[in-house]
């Protein structure tokens, strides 16, 4: 140990002991720097494809009417089918457009102009038929994909049940194999099914009895179920706050005969199929939210520039300006994250970007919700009326943090996945320590000393061979500092809690938020670096946005990590839990009324 040079020692220990460095896939620079690019031909193609879709949405889609009547008119639906929007990612050989994740994200920017249409299309292709696409066999693909791609058949994804929402593994719908072994009989109830009443082909998840080494076990399997099989009833359409044009209802299965050929993947592998499907669709929320915010910025800016009060136009007031800056920053970050993720997903070898996609979803759903609310605020009373689209955008956006995996669940996923690698590495070290490997102990202690003595952190993002452009160097340094800090924070959390960390949601929430911020910082640094390097129009503005966001995120991360330190005075968790306990025990607010007397 002592004959290693101090600089090497520091690097080694940082790499070996700071597991976040390893597991944060996005710090593997090769993946995220440079920002993913698509070929010239593809850019041209995207522009070609975007034009008619934009036109259709501007000219033929009456969002106010769809919201008012809680229905998408058949002509509009037909128009969407003819445009080819029902099979965007289905390969050409099955009648789809065969577009990449990146192109899908680009089109999602426009489709999001109408929330009901966006959800109807997403329920159909991002999850409804996705199972067949990613886990189906050739026969299933040939049989079902062509009609699904053309929109002749509509698809739905049936997982959630009255008793099983976030806890998807607890579903009770059952599929029993018939005597002759040729079909399954499916029975159970599903709720909150988008396209439930109009779907012809559904991906349904049910428990099946599986033989595991001679032991009978209950495992979830995925099935392709046609409405034509009979025994399927759809309940009445839910009367929702937003996305009212999208059909959502209960779907009940009463001994529906499903041929064994319709099992997707292996019997018993259904849960994994479900998770893969959900993970693969999430990233597009980034681009659809960004698309919506960009549109809102245009509409709102028009108003802010012309409306005058106190003899000044609204756009001259600080608090209004702040809202526009916030919207621009959010749109910038969401775009950057979405296309970075899509670009990584499009790399050959089907890389697993479920962690990144989850981070995009959490950021975009919450950012989108805040932005539409602030946009409405700019218009004041007018924004509150149905004469303007703002209130509809607010209502449509409220579903974003709820569906496709609630943000609470996704934060747990993000934090635990991130910490998983840290945990593994640390377990090894702890074992060593117990074995009495003193050198190991010195190793860990030494490292802590070195880093706390303010040794500078360098992951190679900046400097002579750095991948980040010099005008972003400050932000990159802040990012590197955060990353190193996170590493030691996570380590100390694991020391403190060990496995019980799984139950410490308030802690995991902060870890997740830091990781989301870090991914966002990576995305904007990568994107802005590229924009400057290739001289995109308005790249100075991008640098401004990137630096502003990174600075803000840096301080937020530091605060979050301060709260995570042992006995942190900034951390009110114990009190919060106590308050919650007392309120929930009584199922009410328990304070005496302020006007009460005791005498």
């Amino acid at each position: 140990m002592c004959c290693i040079k101090s600089s090497e020692w520091r690097r080694m220990s940082l790499v070996a002991v700071s597991p976040i460095y390893k597991c944060l896939m996005f710090v593997l620079q090769a993946e995220v720097f440079p920002y993913p690019e698509i070929g010239n031909e593809e850019v041209e193609e995207i522009n070609q494809l975007v034009a008619p879709v934009e036109r259709f949405f501007t000219e033929e889609v009456d969002s106010a009417k769809i919201d008012r009547e809680a229905k998408i008119p058949p002509e509009t639906l037909n128009g969407l089918k003819e445009l080819g929007l029902f099979g965007i990612m289905v390969p050409e050989e099955y009648g789809g457009l065969g577009l990449s994740n990146t192109m899908y994200a680009r089109l999602a920017e426009i489709i999001s102009l109408d929330g009901s249409i966006a959800v109807t299309l997403a329920a159909h292709q991002a999850i409804g038929l996705k199972g067949i696409l990613i886990a189906g066999n050739e026969a299933q693909k040939q049989k079902y994909l062509p009609k699904l791609a053309s929109g002749e058949h509509i698809a739905a994804f049936c997982l959630t049940e009255p008793g099983s929402g976030s806890d998807a593994a607890s579903i009770q719908t059952r599929a029993t194999l018939s005597e002759d072994g040729k079909q399954y009989l499916l029975s159970g109830s599903k709720i909150w099914i988008s396209n439930g009443a109009i779907a012809d082909v559904m991906t349904v998840f049910a428990r099946t009895e599986v033989d595991v080494d001679g032991v009978k076990k209950d495992k979830i399997s995925a099935f392709i179920v046609e409405r034509a099989y009979g025994g399927i009833t759809s309940g009445k359409a839910e009367d929702k706050l937003g996305i009212r044009g999208s059909n959502t209802c209960e779907v009940s299965f009463d001994n529906v005969p499903v041929p064994v050929e319709n099992v997707i993947g292996e019997v018993g592998s259904g849960f994994k199929v479900a998770m893969n499907i959900l993970n693969s669709g999430r990233f597009s929320m980034g681009s659809s939210s960004a698309g919506m915010i960009k549109k809102l910025i245009e509409l709102t800016a028009e108003y802010a520039a012309t409306r005058k009060q106190f003899n000044k136009s609204l756009s001259e007031f600080g608090m209004i300006q702040e809202k526009f800056a916030m919207m621009a920053l959010n749109a910038f970050v969401m775009e950057s994250m979405a296309y970075l993720t899509a670009g990584m997903m499009d790399r050959p070898g089907l890389p697993d970007c479920s962690l990144e996609a989850a981070m995009v979803k959490v950021f975009s759903s919450e950012g989108g919700w805040i932005c539409v609310s602030e946009a409405l605020q700019v218009l004041g009373g007018l924004g509150y009326t149905k004469d303007y689209p703002y209130e509809r955008y607010v209502r449509d956006c409220r579903i974003l943090p709820i569906f496709e995996g609630t943000n609470e669940i996704l934060r747990m996923y993000i934090a635990l996945t991130g910490m998983q690698y840290a945990g593994k590495a640390l377990t090894g070290k702890i074992k060593e320590m117990k074995k009495g490997n003193i050198g190991m102990v010195f190793g860990v202690v030494g490292k802590k000393l070195k880093s706390s003595l303010g040794g500078s952190v360098d992951y190679g993002l900046t400097g002579k061979d750095g991948v980040v452009h010099p005008s972003l160097a400050e932000s990159a340094k802040k990012f590197e500092q955060n990353v190193s800090h996170v590493g030691s924070t996570v380590e100390s959390l694991l020391y403190r809690y060990g496995k019980t960390i799984v139950d410490e949601q308030l802690i995991l929430k902060r870890v997740a938020d830091v990781m989301i911020n870090l991914y966002a910082m990576t995305a904007v640094l990568s994107r802005a670096s590229r924009s400057i390097s290739i001289g995109l129009r308005n790249h100075d503005h991008e640098v401004l946005l990137a630096n502003t966001f990174c600075s803000d995120a840096f301080f937020k991360n530091n605060y979050l990590m301060t709260q995570l330190q042992k006995h942190s005075p900034e951390n009110n968790d114990a009190n919060i839990k106590k308050i919650a306990r007392e309120v929930l025990e009584n199922r009410a607010y328990i304070c005496s009324h302020p006007l009460e007397r005791t005498f």
Binding site: E44, E45, N47, Q48, L49, A51, P52, V53, R55, F56, G79, E82, L83, G84, L85, I88, E92, L97, G98, R537
Partner: protein
């Protein structure tokens, strides 16, 4: 008859864009501005494709003159149903001064080369509003012309064209080969659907230079200055007619 129809399509600044004049008043800002196919050209393409679907003609060839980006416009025409495209490459200064006279020479040359039975153009482009190319093309070819068409039908070896004119509608019958220019009410152009855009990728676009067609691109016009329309001034209310006359005299208009 060859059964071939030539359709000219022009790439213009999108109709919804707010036009801005360059600071040096030399021309309009085009950099980074959204462009699309001239709306009247879309109507022309739609009519040609409709004729092909009715089996009245056999092939639709889309033509555009301009730099590399003109190919996007041709691709849109192909996605709408045209069979193949011809991109006449015009760049730089030549493109800046390209006008109806030069384009009509090119269209005339191509019409002869491709043995076209019919040339359909939009009645005018929304950027220069010239309304000349169709007429000039017909004159250069010495072909009959049916301009401002709101209805086109085949009548034996002739074409019946209903024209929108100031006084109402005028119906004429012209012999083929002929030039027709499309007016607003001729048809409603279809959307280029995404599957058709993908299919159109396989259709061919031939590359041609004006010199190959023996066309001289020199312009007879020189743009001196481009200005925005004057800001609309606020009106003034007056109490009596005498006041009105007084004000008019002041302004020197009476």
């Amino acid at each position: 008859m060859s059964g071939r129809v030539l359709v000219g399509v022009k790439r213009v600044i999108d109709y919804a864009v707010k036009i801005r004049v360059k600071p040096d008043n030399s021309s309009v800002v085009t950099d980074g501005v959204k462009h699309s196919m001239n709306p009247f050209c879309e109507i022309a393409v739609e009519e040609a494709v409709k004729l092909k679907e009715k089996k009245l003609i056999k092939e639709v060839v889309a033509v555009s003159c301009g730099p590399q980006q003109a190919q996007e416009t041709i691709r849109t025409a192909l996605a709408m149903g045209a069979d193949r495209g011809i991109h006449v490459e015009v760049t730089g200064k030549d493109y800046e001064t390209l006008g109806p006279l030069q384009v009509s020479k090119i269209m005339a040359a191509l019409a002869k080369k491709e043995d076209a039975q019919l040339v359909i153009l939009g009645k005018q482009a929304i950027d220069d509003d010239c309304n000349q190319t169709g007429q000039m093309t017909a004159a250069l070819l010495d072909w009959p012309q049916g301009t401002f068409a709101s209805e086109v039908s085949f009548d034996g070896d002739k074409i019946k064209v209903v024209r929108e004119i100031d006084g109402g509608l005028e119906t004429i019958k012209i012999k083929t080969p002929a030039v027709v220019t499309a007016d607003l009410r001729l048809n409603t152009p279809r959307y280029a659907t995404l599957p058709n855009i993908m299919k159109a990728k396989k259709k061919k676009i031939a590359n041609v230079k004006p010199a190959d067609l023996g066309v001289d691109l020199t312009s007879r016009l020189e743009v001196v200055r481009v200005d925005e329309p004057p800001q609309r001034q606020a009106g003034v209310k007056v109490e009596t007619v005498d006041d009105l006359v007084g004000k008019l005299k002041e302004a020197g208009t009476v």
